[in-house]
């Protein structure tokens, strides 16, 4: 009951802010709605007992990545509105059509999954011992060590790339 209430209210906020993100005329408002959206997604992670991920969501997404967006918007957005001569109607129809197709596909997948019985393994699996942080950390540093290292290399490459791209002359 509590979970249902939390889920429906959070889902409403998540979808509402997501719609606002893509409809807001002012890019800064768009970024703000994105932050709100991420915060509610983090709350949804708490409902799902993924506390570590919730905190990481706030820390990395809301506190890091979106600040970067805001920074760039403020550097870029000051001279003239970016969508001064867009061609909204044709794009809109195309977008809605493709999105509708994709939605139909996902609904089909969902319908198919709903008709299947839940496998017995779901009930048999045991809950991980210890806290959520320990569990995630343990997996990251044992089974997923190689992907973890690859991810850190990716971050390093991205960092160097971003510096080279953004710097006027080296």
């Amino acid at each position: 009951m509590v979970e249902a209430f939390a889920f429906y209210s959070l889902a409403a906020f998540i979808l509402g802010f997501a719609v606002l993100v893509i409809t807001a005329r002012n890019t800064v408002h768009s970024v703000l709605f994105l932050v709100a959206n991420f915060l509610f997604v983090a709350a949804l992670y708490v409902v799902l007992h993924a506390e570590f991920l919730a905190v990481i969501q706030v820390l990395v997404y809301a506190g890091g990545i979106v600040v970067l967006y805001l920074f760039v918007v403020m550097l870029v957005n000051l001279k003239r509105p970016p969508e001064a001569h867009a061609d909204p109607r044709r794009r809109g129809r195309l977008g809605l059509a493709v999105a509708g197709l994709l939605l139909a596909q996902l609904v089909a997948v969902l319908g198919y999954s709903a008709t299947q019985a839940v496998p017995a393994a779901a009930a048999a699996a045991t809950a991980p011992a210890g806290g959520n942080v320990e569990a995630v950390g343990w997996l990251l540093y044992t089974d997923y060590l190689v992907p973890f290292e690859v991810a850190s290399m990716l971050l390093l490459v991205a960092m160097i790339g971003a510096i080279i791209l953004a710097k006027r002359e080296l």
Binding site: V2, N26, V28, H29, L32, V35, L39, V46, H49, E51, F52, A54, V55, I56, V58, L59, A62, G63, G64, V67, L68, L70, F71, M74, L75, G131, N132, V133
Partner: protein, 378 residues
């Protein structure tokens, strides 16, 4: 009138935020439903009471911190400071609050009104809800009940603090943007770059502390220091120094107060603000100072623990309640903040960035590596 309503709304929001941070842990522990009556008191009334007490104490502390700052600055400069309102000016904060309440609340004509109103709240609310996970003491016995002296002990406490603090930067950036004015915009660009840079170094020092303590819970970290019989400032002096520098930078205090450098930027990101909305930024800055002091106390100076537990001659120090030790330590930190402001000149912007990226972050990473190596080898 509008300003009064505004504050009430924001206070409500802040309390609600704190309540949300606190309300989550009881909801995730459904097993404690043995005695419904006791349960009601334990999971609703006591936390609510604690939230209200913490909230009031922080706002009170902020009000008097402002007075203390003016007094300390004055004493350093051989002046008297505020003396008119009450004996030695002790009622000055009340006068200030009244003045800010009744002042006209101006919104610039070309400002982004919506964001302009939101920005002060965004900067104040994170500063207040961080207190949800800070342990002010061990446990206290009140009316035959054992009450832990913290609002919530979540197992991601430290990360919670870092992440909530990282939301606070939006207040500064949005204030600068929404004012539609040059100086606030420059200031907010500076502020965002500064906060992001120093956040990296601070988070890195926290990693080395987590390696020492083996837990992310704030209560757990204090307990680990009690078991080790060692405050972490002695085990991690470098981490403490970096944390202090980063803390000064993240609260925009001297010598890193570039976002509000009066000589270059008029008043910084809050140049256009007046009345209660300006007061919100003011409150947020001082609340952030208290946050950084509390976190430093908890992580490096043993939180509520009494000093010298091993010296028998000083055993009577353990009789003093833990929360008094906590407050004393926090006060020392706050005094240090004021002292530094009165002593050190401001950094230049390029010096600030160089210090952050070329000194503090490499040092912090080296510290993590050394800590990890020592931890593995010993």
């Amino acid at each position: 009138m509008a300003s009064g309503r505004l504050t009430k709304a924001a206070h409500g929001a802040a309390r609600e935020g704190a309540a949300r941070g606190d309300g989550a842990p009881p909801a995730t522990e459904p097993g404690s439903g043995a005695e419904p009556r006791l349960n009601m008191i334990d999971i609703v009334i006591i936390p609510l009471l604690k939230i209200v007490i913490v909230f009031v104490a922080v706002l009170f502390g902020v009000a008097y911190l402002v007075l203390l700052e003016r007094k300390v600055q004055a004493w350093v400069q051989v002046r008297l400071g505020p003396m008119r309102v009450g004996p030695h000016g002790v009622l000055q904060p009340i006068a200030d609050a009244l003045k800010l309440f009744v002042k006209e609340d101006i919104t610039p004509a070309r400002a982004d009104k919506w964001v302009y109103t939101l920005a002060p709240m965004i900067s104040l609310v994170p500063a207040l809800i961080v207190f949800a996970v800070i342990p002010f003491g061990g446990t206290a016995h009140l009316f035959g009940k054992t009450v832990p002296l913290f609002v919530a002990d979540v197992n991601v406490g430290l990360l919670y603090i870092v992440s909530v603090a990282s939301i606070g930067v939006y207040g500064l950036i949005l204030a600068g943007y929404a004012s539609n004015s040059k100086y606030p915009l420059l200031s907010s660009l500076r502020a965002s770059a500064q906060l992001i840079s120093y956040e990296v170094a601070v988070t890195m020092t926290l990693v080395s502390l987590i390696l020492m303590a083996g837990t992310l819970s704030m209560v757990g970290i204090v307990e680990a220091q009690r078991q080790a019989g060692l405050w972490y400032v002695f085990a991690q002096p470098l981490a403490f120094f970096i944390f202090l520098a980063g803390g000064l930078a993240e609260t925009n205090r001297a010598p890193f107060d570039l976002p509000e450098a009066e000589q270059e930027l008029v008043g910084g990101f809050h140049t256009e603000y007046s009345g209660m909305r300006f007061a919100f930024f003011f409150l947020a800055e001082y609340a952030n100072m208290i946050v950084v002091s509390s976190v430093a106390t908890t992580l490096f100076f043993g939180g509520w623990l009494a000093p010298f537990p091993n010296v028998h001659a000083l055993a009577f120090l353990g009789l003093v309640p833990g929360w008094i030790w906590f407050l004393l330590k926090v006060f020392c930190f706050l005094y240090l903040f004021l002292w530094i402001r009165a002593t050190l000149p401001r950094y230049r912007y390029d010096q600030l960035m160089r210090l952050g990226w070329k000194v503090l972050i490499p040092l912090a990473i080296a510290n993590v590596i050394v800590t990890g190596a020592v931890k593995v080898l010993l």
